[in-house]
């Protein structure tokens, strides 16, 4: 049913709502900073008319530790443990763009095997994020079973990360010039076992989540992103693909070994919460397939790291660059400036949430129902640490 917008809210000449809280027509509430809709801390200042939102403002800063500033006082190699914390759930994109920026400024050529291992790590990272995000969308609507099941399967992927890199969440496996290690013995077999479990899971969530009438009722036609907003708000990744734009850095700007892999990102047009999750479910299936392709193609032998200068005395040539990768949320980029010293002059991270969770979310929430806020936030795959860095 279309809400009657003839009386509330009154708009000023710029189209902004005139909200007089003393009129008792409006209520202001805060959602957050601990929030069911995000994997971090972020607040929303919502102004409501009844249960409809007339104005929304995103408030961040709860996780700000000044990473970009801190990195200006660190050697390039010391930036790795700092930069991976800029998005906790998918730390590997951070280390890849940092290593790629250094390599771009120094013209280092990465060995073939290291390129394959980097591709594997990035896809494993995408897989563990999607195992949490896709069923996590249903969890926001109290359909928790899929979420718990997904977390169990994600944990098995973290086991694989642990045996490959030594870490479960933060890996620091990708380093300038290559990677830190080879595949452990029996890794491929154990990964294959996990992938079979995930395929079975994807089949089950089709009925559990995507054919569930409550899930459909709460997500179909809700949180629609107008295709004209994609350029206007800098929308990337699955959110753009659900709105009909075929945007995937792996295809558009092939990096690492993606050119040698066979995959096709799904594009749809309905652009609501449901469609964005269908896109992510397809990404999940694609990632399983990509990991199989990568494991079949990784060379048995070969160097995993190019020769680099001593990292404690490494002066990166003067210059600037921008390097991007496709994270599970879309384009993830890093702008780096070097003044020729051992320390970066400036590092700036471009995370998808910077636009998705601030200007876009503030726009999307207008006229939304208060009960749909967390679903909309999850459907945008918000990661607050990459906003405030």
């Amino acid at each position: 049913m279309q809400a009657d917008r003839s009386k509330y809210p009154e708009l000023d000449k710029n189209g902004n709502p005139i909200v007089d809280l003393s009129s008792q027509k409006y209520t202001k509430i805060w959602q957050g900073p601990n929030h069911p809709g995000v994997t971090g801390n972020m607040s929303l200042e919502l102004t409501l008319s009844g249960d409809e939102i007339v104005e929304a403002k995103t408030h961040v800063g709860y996780l700000h530790r000044g990473f970009e500033k801190l990195m200006e006082r660190r050697l390039y190699i010391q930036c790795f443990p700092t930069c991976i914390r800029m998005c906790v759930p998918e730390a590997d994109s951070n280390e890849y763009v940092l290593a790629a920026s250094i390599e771009n400024l120094t013209d280092i050529e990465i060995p073939e095997k290291a390129l394959w291992l980097r591709t594997l790590v990035l896809e494993m990272a995408r897989l563990q994020v999607l195992l949490r995000t896709v069923p996590g969308q249903a969890s926001t609507l109290s359909l928790g079973l899929g979420g718990q099941w997904g977390m169990y399967l994600r944990d098995l992927i973290l086991d694989r990360f642990e045996e490959l890199t030594g870490g479960r969440i933060y890996h620091m496996f990708i380093i300038p010039g290559g990677v830190r290690g080879h595949l452990p013995d029996g890794f491929k077999e154990r990964m294959e076992e996990n992938l079979k479990g995930i395929e079975e899971f994807v089949g089950k969530i089709e009925n559990l989540i995507f054919n569930n009438s409550i899930f459909k009722k709460r997500t179909v036609g809700v949180g629609v992103i107008d295709p004209s907003w994609v350029s206007k708000y800098g929308i990337v990744g699955p959110n753009a693909r659900a709105a009909g734009f075929n945007r995937d850095v792996r295809k558009d700007y092939p990096y690492l070994k993606y050119k040698e892999l066979d995959f096709e990102p799904l594009v749809a047009t309905d652009s609501d919460i449901y469609t964005r999750n269908v896109i992510r479910k397809h990404d999940l299936i694609t990632t399983v397939d990509l990991i199989r392709q990568i494991l079949a193609k990784i060379p048995e032998k070969g160097d995993i790291r190019a020769t680099t200068p001593n990292v404690l005395h490494w002066e990166i040539p003067k210059g600037e660059t921008y390097q991007r990768s496709e994270s599970s949320r879309g384009e993830y980029g890093m702008y780096m400036v070097s003044d020729g010293s051992k320390y970066p002059r400036r590092i700036n991270l471009r995370g998808p949430s910077y636009t998705h969770a601030v200007s876009l979310l503030e726009k999307m929430l207008i006229n939304a129902n208060i009960a749909d806020v967390h679903s909309i936030m999850v459907s945008l795959q918000t990661c607050p640490p990459e906003i405030e860095r």
């Binding site: 961040v60 801190l70 702008y335 601030v358 876009l360």
Partner: protein
């Protein structure tokens, strides 16, 4: 890419073109012409995706470098536009009318570097910091260590012991006497 440069070089007096990568070029533009150049690239050359806006503090030259990175999704190319502004006055024309999310970048730059963008929506509202009363923290002359020492309670830090000596003292305290 070269065709684009030929065209904009004459119109916008661009200099210092650096071909960093196959699809990535940087160039420098005068402050007064930067927003016009961005508008031209967006409306005429198809650079419809605004990637980022950030600043670099060249304190030794008394200048801020602003970098706008634009992307052409059809041709799959990027342009990084540098412009230099005086560090003392630190004011730049706003570009929020071109893309909605530019206002967020400008708001952050006002808070973190003290660069003003008059007319940009909510540019004076706090974004990340709360109740900040020092100089903008991302400027090079802001000393993070000094700030931390003055602001936060010092902690002793972790003590380390030689395990053999430590256990000897724990288990046989009388032996030393």
């Amino acid at each position: 890419m070269d065709n684009i440069f030929d065209d904009i070089q004459k119109r916008f007096e661009i200099t210092d073109i650096v071909k960093q990568d196959k699809n990535l070029n940087f160039l420098t533009c005068k402050k007064e012409l930067t927003v016009s150049l961005i508008t031209h690239l967006k409306n005429i050359e198809g650079f419809s995706h605004f990637v980022l806006l950030t600043a670099v503090d060249w304190i030794e030259d008394e200048k801020f470098q602003l970098t706008y990175i634009l992307n052409n999704p059809d041709k799959r190319i990027d342009i990084g536009i540098r412009t230099y502004i005086d560090r003392g006055t630190a004011t730049m024309d706003t570009a929020h009318h071109l893309w909605e999310h530019v206002a967020t970048y400008q708001r952050e730059l006002k808070e973190m570097f003290g660069i003003d963008f008059p007319g940009s929506p909510r540019v004076d509202e706090q974004f990340i910091l709360e109740g900040w009363d020092d100089i903008p923290p991302y400027r090079r002359d802001f000393d993070t260590l000094k700030y931390a020492e003055e602001t936060f309670f010092p902690r002793e830090g972790r003590k380390s012991n030689d395990p053999a000596e430590y256990m000897k003292k724990k288990l046989y305290p009388d032996e030393e006497k």
